[in-house]
């Protein structure tokens, strides 16, 4: 019998959703433990960093790294895991492009801390205590990780072998990746795996008309319901949500998620990232949506319609801020 794979799962600036998603492989987990040993997973078991440091270099066969690089700890561990892993996989939107936490790149670190610790309505912090990187205690000095100015993606700090996008990656894709790794059938280094080769529209239950549709009003999914009675001529599917005026990222987002959000009548949020070869997902969807605005060649008319798009940067770069061309706000 061949030796079992040594697998690590680590979380940096993330929510733990990636781990939960991994558990969604359900009964396959039994097959997983047949072929693999988990040598690191802070989410489900206590591992000390010193234990990892003690591993020989390249000890971990595959490390699934989720979460972005928000502080000095994440950077340090990313570097450590790179050394200790044969294959390092950026797992989930945050490790790929910073994810939701990277939206904080639109604010300064100080503004963010103030909001988190002082001005949030539910806070109770009358002394205005703020987190410090070091704190003297009678027992000695405590050190906490330093918060970075902005959120980075994993490959900003270390070399990454494979990318598995998604917020979180869907279970089916996770399992296909594990299978591929177990079988040693991996594409060239640097590839995005566990994805389709088209856009979300490929798996979408909605359909666009071919001609003459322009957007004259933008809608928000928590304020208005999509009209499912409108049907596209082509195949009698309900009419495309973008055409109905909902800002849907689907057309600019890589397929692989089985259009789960759309199947629940929610416009795509773009968590699988840009299509192959597209550099900036946000700019690309802005271009597509902008083209559909019913301007009729009139700037004022167009401006009124465009004004209805609330927070374009937050919407278009919901997951991709850390990989966008501009990446941060100029402050």
């Amino acid at each position: 019998m061949t030796q079992k794979l040594k697998v690590g799962i680590y979380w940096a600036a993330s929510c733990g959703g990636c781990e939960i998603a991994t558990l969604e492989i359900a009964e396959n987990i039994l097959k997983f433990i047949e072929v693999a040993d988990l040598v690191l997973c802070p989410c489900i078991a206590d591992f000390k960093y010193d234990d990892v440091r003690a591993y020989p270099d390249g000890y971990i066969d595959v490390c699934f790294f989720n979460g972005g690089i928000r502080n000095s700890e994440a950077k340090e561990i990313a570097e450590l895991l790179r050394k200790k892993s044969k294959t390092l996989v950026a797992f989930g939107a945050c490790a790929n492009w910073g994810g939701i936490p990277a939206l904080a790149n639109l604010y300064t670190k100080d503004a963010m801390i103030e909001r988190s610790y002082i001005t949030t309505e539910s806070n109770d912090n009358p002394q205005g205590t703020l987190p410090q990187t070091s704190y003297k205690m009678p027992e000695g000095e405590l050190h906490l990780p330093k918060l970075f100015d902005s959120v980075h993606k994993l490959d900003d700090v270390v070399d990454v072998d494979y990318y598995v996008p998604g917020c979180p990656p869907v279970a089916k894709q996770i399992w296909s990746c594990i299978e591929a790794i177990a079988a040693g059938k991996l594409p060239p280094k640097g590839s995005v795996i566990g994805v389709g080769d088209k856009s979300v529209c490929d798996e979408c239950p909605f359909e666009k008309k071919t001609e003459g549709v322009r957007i004259s009003k933008f809608k928000r999914p928590h304020l208005e319901k999509p009209d499912l009675t409108k049907k596209a001529e082509l195949n009698n599917k309900p009419q495309c949500l973008l055409e109905q005026g909902f800002v849907c990222m689907g057309s600019a987002t890589r397929s692989g998620c089985e259009a789960q959000c759309l199947k629940a009548n929610m416009p795509c949020r773009g968590c699988y990232g840009p299509a192959e070869g597209v550099e900036d997902q946000g700019a690309k969807i802005a271009s597509a949506i902008g083209s559909l605005v019913d301007s009729q060649g009139n700037s004022e008319r167009s401006a009124e319609i465009v004004a209805q798009i609330v927070d374009p940067v937050g919407t278009f770069y919901r997951f991709g801020m850390g990989n966008s061309m501009l990446r941060v706000k100029k402050l």
Partner: protein, 160 residues
């Protein structure tokens, strides 16, 4: 420092109207500020917002997109699409903290050489007043010491 600052402005001009208009400014020997460099596209409808972001990332202090007047587009209504795209982009640029004077969409016909002169001079003055944008510095991380290029450009033969 800003006194000696000479902004770098990228112009993306449509072939039929604006580029020809800029040619006319040349043949008419109009004089304008040397700060703008024009890249030619066939129609302002070809202008992908990525081009503009790319320019800022590459160090441009301002970007001017110019096309035919609405209704006069060589391709009928390519520029109609430009309007919506650029308006969304303007909103995004504001969110990224880029001053509105640093981006401009202008309609310049083939006959408006004087308009090329006027717009370039005006924009150069405005951007000069704002000072350098210097996005490399804006996006440089003090924490990790560098900022990686996005993946897609990594294989560029120019980066070899």
């Amino acid at each position: 420092m800003t006194q000696n600052f000479e902004p770098k402005i990228l112009g993306i001009f449509c072939n039929w109207c604006s580029y020809t208009g800029a040619d006319l400014a040349g043949t008419s020997r109009m004089k304008y500020a040397p700060n703008m460099r024009i890249v030619r596209v066939m129609c302002s409808g070809r202008v992908d917002p990525q081009f503009i972001l790319k320019a800022y990332k590459e160090g441009a202090d301002g970007v001017l997109v110019a096309g035919c007047h609405p209704g006069d587009c060589h391709y009928i209504e390519g520029n109609f699409k430009t309007i919506g795209r650029m308006q969304i982009l303007e909103k995004m640029l504001a969110q990224f903290g880029i001053e509105k004077e640093r981006f401009r969409l202008e309609w310049i016909s083939a006959a408006e050489g004087d308009r090329v002169m006027h717009v370039v001079n005006e924009m150069t003055t405005q951007v000069k007043k704002l000072g350098p944008l210097n996005w490399k510095e804006v996006s440089r991380s003090k924490d990790i010491g560098h900022c990686e290029e996005p993946k897609a450009t990594k294989q560029s033969p120019l980066n070899k």
